[in-house]
């Protein structure tokens, strides 16, 4: 997992899997960003081939923490597997999902 700043937006690049192994690290990264008052965040899933319920839970927790601190979260580049899971669990209605990081980043300017 890699956290980068792109024009004031924090981009968290996730690894190949967002599961119970990776979920705590994502929540910790969000917590650190909130402490630093960097609450506009993009979760970059372009490298992430697989996501499970622990990953979905971490994304829900992240979104809640960011909104609570007057920020927002967008998801970029989810795989077919991730999109299918978001649709099945109706999380596609909760998350703002974009095809890539750049498109997601531009929406923070509006």
């Amino acid at each position: 997992m890699l956290v980068q700043d792109k024009d004031g937006v924090a981009v968290i690049k996730m690894d190949e899997r967002l599961d119970m192994v990776a979920a705590p690290a994502l929540k910790e990264a969000i917590s650190e960003l909130v402490k630093a008052n960097k609450t506009n965040v993009i979760i970059d899933l372009e490298q992430t081939k697989f996501i499970d319920s622990s990953g979905c839970g971490a994304l829900v927790a992240s979104l809640r923490a960011l909104i609570k601190n007057k920020g927002d979260m967008k998801i970029a580049g989810p795989s077919h597997q991730a999109r299918s899971l978001f649709e099945l669990t109706r999380l596609h209605r909760v998350f703002e999902i974009y095809d890539d990081v750049e498109t997601a980043r531009l929406t923070f300017r509006k």
Binding site: M20, F50, D52, G57, A61, Q81
Partner: protein, 152 residues
Amino acid sequence: MKTHAGEEADMVIRIESQSKLLLLRPLCYFVRHLLEQLAPTVGAEDICNNLELAFTEAYTNIHKYAYGSGTTGTVIIHIHIRPEELEFTFEDHGLGYEPCCVPPPNLDKPAEGGLGLWLMGEFMDECAYTRTPEGRNILRLIKRLPADADSS
């Protein structure tokens, strides 16, 4: 059920391990690669994804709930590949639960947890849990498989 190499894949694989988080990914990679060796009907991406997810959820639940994240215990996994179906059986000696007392998730109110059991039910054709008198939890997950195109 045949493999891509044309072998009959009627078999049972038994794995005995500790319920360590460290082993989640290696076990899932093994299952994924195994599924991809089976006939194209099973190895199709969507079916592989769903079976891998069900396997992941079952193992995660044992680690997280049956034994609790702070402790480990033994997990015995059987993977049965039959001509018409694939079955995962998970056995552990951790805390049991009453499936009927686990409410389905309210998908209109997203929560951080509570999706795992429901997802297993969504992706598998059968999902049966038993608590034996000796204190073993046995979870059987069965997926009926499409017939091989060349089985005739």
